[in-house]
Symmetry: C2
Subunit: 195 residues, 2 copies
């Protein structure tokens, strides 16, 4: 005999709530202690679980970090019809105010290119999705060709590459690298008017 | 009593030769087994040292990997007077033929942004040097302003960011991402004629 249907549903909802609570706690611990300081033990303590109890929800630190990045993707999501190229500059400006999550993204992206890394699937799918989304934004703004003659589809990987690449330079040397300013320069290359 | 001067010099030369041999072996092991497969034990075996013996030359795997990347920087170096913007496209083309070292660079770059990472100094200094070098290349090609109005100094971080960012997209999904083609697209944005 299994659980009655209502109890199964309640258990599932409680499980999802618990997972969401753990992801939120992980984000807090990352913000306070950085990528390396965010241990499973520290996250478990914050939500009142044993480390063993936490492993029931997230079997590894990498799995928990991927869940944190997925949650950030959901928060940052803008409906495709609402995106504008200048909003991207605001997003980069916003990212410059939250180094801990950018550090987590950048560190995990680095690890993900190694053999059989558990975050590889997340980043590969995310890139495919983000490139498609950026191409749609560029098409809405510029039509089938940008002022420089490139198509939106060929420009999208460059846009994403500049955002990611600037994050590394900025994380390593925030005093020297003006990430939002450099990204606005890139938008000028695409044909945005100078401010 | 120390060693006579000649013997001190010989010991130093022998030590440097041994280090160079280890770095070469590490590059081979990385090429064959990838970033994660390149253990200190595998490198030690290739040069006929115990793992303890290897640690005398490189105290950690990260220290050895940084030495491999420094050696690659030396091989890839082109005198500043010889650089041309179109040579950068050739460099990216060349990089697409050697995924193992690009994977090593990208994985270690990711780790380097975490707290107190031993590779942080290497990457921070390398970026400062490479941005300055790229600015000089752009100035030799375009003068004080590129066709789009940006200065060489403001364009250099974008050039470096695109190279690094495209590497992640390409390493994760080499079938989808044409890294050399995308980089040539970026050079068109800078004002290079289309081919």
């Amino acid at each position: 005999m299994g659980m009655p249907y209502g109890d199964v549903m309640n258990a599932r909802v409680r499980g999802e709530e618990r997972r969401a609570e753990i992801v939120g706690a992980a984000l807090e611990v990352i913000a306070e202690r950085g990528y390396r300081g965010a241990s499973l033990a520290a996250v478990a303590e914050r939500v009142g679980l044993t480390q063993q109890g936490l492993l029931h929800y997230f079997p590894t630190k990498d799995a928990l970090l991927v869940a944190v990045l997925q949650e950030r993707d959901r928060w940052d999501a803008v409906p495709d019809t609402q995106w504008r190229v200048d909003l991207l500059a605001s997003l980069v400006e916003y990212n410059a105010m939250r180094p801990a999550i950018i550090q987590t993204f950048s560190a995990l992206l680095g690890e993900s290119v190694t053999e059989d890394h558990p975050a590889r699937g997340y980043f590969t799918e995310r890139y495919a999705r983000v490139r498609a989304s950026m191409a749609a934004v560029l098409r809405a703004e510029y039509g089938d060709r940008l002022p420089n003659g490139l198509t939106p589809e060929r420009t999208a990987p460059l846009l994403v590459a500049v955002m990611d690449g600037l994050q590394y330079q900025w994380l390593l040397d925030p005093e020297t690298v003006d990430m939002p300013g450099a990204f606005r320069d890139f938008l000028r290359l695409l044909g945005e008017p100078a401010d």
